[in-house]
């Protein structure tokens, strides 16, 4: 499943890039994500918990990040599995930063391959919607974090940690948006494509 999305952050690209280079901070900005290990440079082990329709998945796996400082772009490739649902995920997420009048736009091209239970329950429309919501939350978190860093002193950094994302709210919002978008489809039997 491929999709492109972008988020806008009301901060300059230098600040955004600096944060994106700090992987532990980035992970903290992703709702449901946890960094488990970062032993080699550019290679990270992590875990992402999210709800996909009726199931909760916890994908654990490894990702590799390659960045280009000069062009302010990067590619994260990773794969993980969720043993609780016998699911697998493989993703390539390319992003680049574009500065504009009011801040920075992060443009993301994602290629996600879900398999097993997650694929069977996670319809493409729902997955895209959840991804969009996750990115919006991510943008808000990044923005808040940079703001905190800029405005507060070093000892306040702890306070700058974004609040734990409210995943249930996220899920409901995603589902609602997806339902509205696909209402006609849902009502019409036989329409599955």
């Amino acid at each position: 499943m491929q999709f492109s999305q972008h988020i806008e952050i009301g901060r300059g690209s230098a600040a955004v890039w600096a944060l994106l280079e700090d992987i532990p901070q980035v992970v903290q900005c992703v709702p449901g994500a946890e960094l488990l290990e970062a032993s080699e440079p550019g290679i990270y082990r992590g875990r992402v918990t999210s709800r996909l329709g009726p199931i909760t998945t916890t994908f654990e796996g490894e990702g590799q990040l390659e960045t280009d400082q000069e062009l302010r772009m990067g590619t994260l490739t990773g794969s993980g599995k969720d043993r609780k649902t016998n699911s697998r995920a493989r993703a390539t997420i390319a992003y680049r930063l574009v500065e504009f009048d009011h801040g920075t736009r992060i443009e993301v091209d994602a290629d996600i391959h879900l398999s097993g239970t997650a694929a069977q329950f996670g319809r493409p429309g729902l997955v895209r919607e959840i991804a969009a919501r996750l990115m919006q939350e991510f943008a808000q978190n990044v923005e808040a974090r940079i703001k905190d860093e800029a405005e507060a002193s070093g000892e306040d950094a702890q306070n700058g940690a974004v609040e734990a994302p409210q995943r249930s709210g996220l899920l409901i919002a995603s589902l609602w948006s997806w339902l509205l978008g696909g209402l006609r489809k849902l009502l019409s039997k036989g329409d599955r494509t």
Binding site: S87, R88, H113, S115, A119, Q120, K185, R192
Partner: protein
């Protein structure tokens, strides 16, 4: 005079099943029974690099974990080609668990046995399988390209088998045609959904080396043979019992990987084990069907008479399998051009494997696709020539006096009266008045349309050398000393009611009331060898065998009755419960007294010339099968050819593309009908499944080979609210090849809705120039067709 044949006898199992007293495989409870959960591949194509089952094995309550790595120690490869010499296909070794590669999402890679089903399931999730992903093949047309990845790396292509049926002079016929019409038809992937999912219970006795296997299967004896080969056990040490079956539709024909797997686990453990499929497992692995792409062209003259047909069928049969489903593609090609007299034909078939769920037999068995194609072709001819759709069909039918009729494929159609059925249908549906009705509705702002479907659903499949597909079956009929009758058949019932027909046939032939007949089916230990149920063979083969065996006993009893009445045997008549003297209705002997004389007085005057006992086992072999092409000039795998004409009236909302069926009328001809009640019920079920396929049901895979429709939320079935009242009439054109003239009714009805619905929707949306060449007719497809139709009109 018939007392029981042709009577609407309510199914003998009704009371028990409706009361919830049926016993299905999952109701079998045995002492120390353990439970199986299966670890399935989440990937469509991958190499299995390693399996770590240590966590699962350590879970309390887990008895064993069997993985693909060690399956060869416990099992032989499964029988791959069940078609014998009938179909020459590429070969592959299939084991009960994937050994080094997985070939579709859901393929079993390991199995866990535990004390309870919940522990088994939990442990299955703890088995860690290391996969190396391979490029999946998910599109049959792309799979034919030379640069495609291969489903089976040892093969030179993804073609499992190909064949070509030709006859006449196709090029010349096309050249001489006034009109040449071409098109494409896409039939999508869908399947049957038996309410009862697959279930197996296996009990192995290590001291006797015997296996008892309860299975929701259609074919106990063939399953026993397959288990014997796969497990390396003596066939007569295996007993297969088929309890009640809650629907099968072909999908319970062996052999699934789970069948030998469950047996294997019981043998390893020395304890009874049980496995019941979850619905999601059924969608993933329980057999799919239909998905085909057909390119066609026909040549016809100005009168609508078709002289030539070319078709290229590409069927996406999913992963190679030990199941027989891929043979359905053969039938699509074999049955063309169905009910029509088209003598110049060239039909090419490519059966292509992909990394999707394997096909298994599904009601229709490929014959629905050929009928669907011919319906679309006849409608196209009508449009091209400006002749009415029904008239075009009438002009192209094989005529009633042309039977037995040979097609170029080898098919030999036994009998039929297609114009008779269609004319009867047109009258029933008031076809001539429809134009006025349509105009009236249109004036009121409603869009209604009518379409015709014409199906030919041959039955009684028989392939030379096949261990499962044969045009014969056996029955044992026993009369007890008290005159009670037991009928044991080699055919089985999938829940459709053939046991009632068996009782009617036995009662008729013997001269007893149905209440005195008990029918026993589905146990290899008690029933005569037989091939079970598929291809509507219950009544054709099993019913004929019952007739032969019962008739033999009745003749014996009639001779004894004649001695008892001191009359000539020719003067003895049979009525239910007694033998009586012609012209002297008060001189009779009771049926039970004749039985008593044979058993208790075998040295007495009445019975001394007869062999004691009243038991007969007879086998019926159908005469309309050709398995010696070098001598007979043709290979015909199908002996019985029921058919149906149907009309469908729909209303379509052009705003949202929704279809509502207003009427569905059919005239059905399956030869002599033994029980109109159960026959009609079968036709109803077939039509409902046809409508489901045409409008609602769709198995959708994504580009990675992941099935997206694994619940009834996503895979929508028609329910009573979507279906109209079916109006079914019968026409009886007897088969000349069966003793009772029967043809089989189990698959009837499933094909007509496909073409009829397409045509009805096109007719309703005539103003929008809509053309439909793919299913399902989802609102989105219809809406898109309206847009496309309007664009092309501009």
């Amino acid at each position: 005079m018939s007392h029981f044949i042709g009577q609407p006898v309510p199914s003998l199992t009704n009371r028990r099943l409706v009361a919830g007293k049926g016993q299905y495989t999952s109701d079998v409870k045995l002492d120390r029974m353990a439970h199986v959960a299966i670890v399935r591949s989440p990937l469509a194509a991958a190499r299995v690099k390693g399996i770590d089952a240590s966590d699962a094995e350590a879970l309390p309550g887990v008895l064993m974990v069997l993985t693909g790595e060690s399956i060869r120690e416990h099992s032989n490869a499964m029988t791959f080609n069940v078609f014998g010499s009938g179909i020459d296909a590429q070969q592959v070794e299939i084991y009960p668990l994937a050994t080094d590669r997985v070939r579709f999402v859901g393929e079993p890679v390991a199995a866990v046995v535990a004390e309870d089903p919940y522990t088994a399931k939990q442990a299955a999730l703890m088995v860690d399988v290391d996969y190396e992903e391979l490029e999946p093949v998910v599109d049959a047309l792309k799979a034919l390209c030379p640069d495609s990845a291969l489903v089976e790396p040892e093969w030179d292509s993804n073609v499992l088998f190909k064949t070509r049926f030709t006859g006449g002079d196709v090029d010349a016929a096309f050249a001489a045609s006034e009109h040449v019409i071409s098109g494409t038809l896409k039939h999508h992937r869908y399947t049957g959904t038996p309410l009862e999912s697959r279930a197996y219970v296996a009990d192995y006795d290590p001291f006797r080396d015997t296996l008892t296997f309860w299975a929701s299967t259609q074919n106990p004896h063939p399953l026993r043979a397959f288990l014997s080969t796969t497990l390396g056990m003596s066939e007569n040490n295996i007993r297969v019992i088929q309890p009640n079956v809650g629907g099968a539709f072909g999908l319970k024909i062996p052999m699934y990987q789970e069948e030998p797997l469950v047996a294997c686990l019981a043998r390893c453990l020395g304890r009874p084990v049980r496995w019941v499929a979850e619905r999601r497992e059924e969608f993933l692995t329980g057999g799919h069907a239909r998905e085909s792409h057909i390119d066609w062209s026909v040549g016809c003259d100005a009168s609508g008479k078709v002289s030539a047909l070319r078709a290229r069928v590409v069927s996406d049969v999913g992963a190679p399998t030990a199941l027989c489903g891929w043979g359905m593609a053969y039938l699509t090609a074999f049955t063309l051009p169905t009910v029509y007299r088209i003598t110049n034909t060239d039909v090419e078939l490519f059966t292509v494997v992909t990394n999707k769920c394997s096909w298994n037999a599904y009601r229709g068995f490929g014959k629905e696709s050929s009928s669907f194609l011919m319906d679309r072709i006849m409608d196209a001819v009508a449009r091209e020539t400006g002749i009415d759709r029904a008239e075009v069909r009438l002009r192209n039918f094989i005529q009633p006096d042309e039977f037995p009729y040979p097609h170029n494929s080898g098919a030999m159609i036994d009998s039929g009266n297609y114009p008779g059925a269609l004319k009867k249908l047109l009258k029933l549906v008031a076809y001539e008045d429809f134009a006025a009705l349509k105009a009236e509705a249109r004036a009121a702002g409603r869009y209604i349309g009518i379409g015709i479907g014409q199906e030919l659903i041959p039955e009684g499949c028989a392939l030379a050398g096949s261990q499962i597909l044969g045009a014969y079956d056996g029955a044992t009929v026993r009369v007890s000393p008290s005159g009670e009758v037991t009928v044991l058949t080699g055919v089985t019932s999938p829940g459709g009611g053939n046991e009632t027909a068996m009782a009617q046939i036995a009662a008729e032939a013997l001269g007893v009331e149905i209440a005195h007949v008990r029918v026993v089916q589905g146990d290899t230990e008690t029933c005569p060898y037989g091939l079970g149920n598929y291809s509507s063979r219950g009544v054709i083969m099993g019913g004929s065998a019952v007739h032969l065996a019962a008739t033999e006993l009745r003749e014996k009893m009639q001779r004894v009755a004649a001695r008892m009445l001191e009359a000539s045997v020719d003067d003895v008549e049979v009525e239910p419960g007694r033998f009586l003297l012609k012209g002297a209705p008060f001189r009779f002997v009771a049926f039970k007294d004749v039985a008593g004389a044979i058993y208790h007085d075998c040295h007495g005057t009445a019975a001394c010339d007869e062999e004691p006992g009243l038991e007969s086992t007879r086998y019926f072999r159908h005469g309309n099968v050709f398995h010696q092409p070098e001598v007979q000039g043709r290979y015909n795998a199908y002996p019985a050819w029921p058919n149906q004409a149907a009309a469908c009236v729909v209303e379509v909302d052009p705003e949202d593309g929704m279809v509502r069926i207003l009427r569905f009328v059919s005239v059905h001809d399956s030869g002599v009908v033994i029980n109109p009640l159960t026959a009609e019920a079968n036709v109803h079920g077939g039509i409902a499944q046809g409508i489901g396929g045409a409008l609602y049901e769709n198995l959708v895979y994504d580009d990675d080979g992941q099935l997206m429709t694994t619940t009834f939320m996503d895979y929508t079935l028609p329910t009573a609210t979507e279906l109209p009242r079916f109006e079914v009439a019968h026409q009886e054109t007897p088969s000349p090849f069966t003793p009772l003239g029967t043809k089989g009714v189990g698959e009837s009805g499933v094909a007509c809705p496909l073409g009829a619905l397409c045509a009805a929707v096109e007719d309703a949306l005539e103003d929008f120039n809509v053309r439909l060449d793919a299913l399902p007719l989802s609102p989105e497809r219809i809406w898109s067709a309206i847009q496309a139709g309007q664009e092309s009109a501009q």
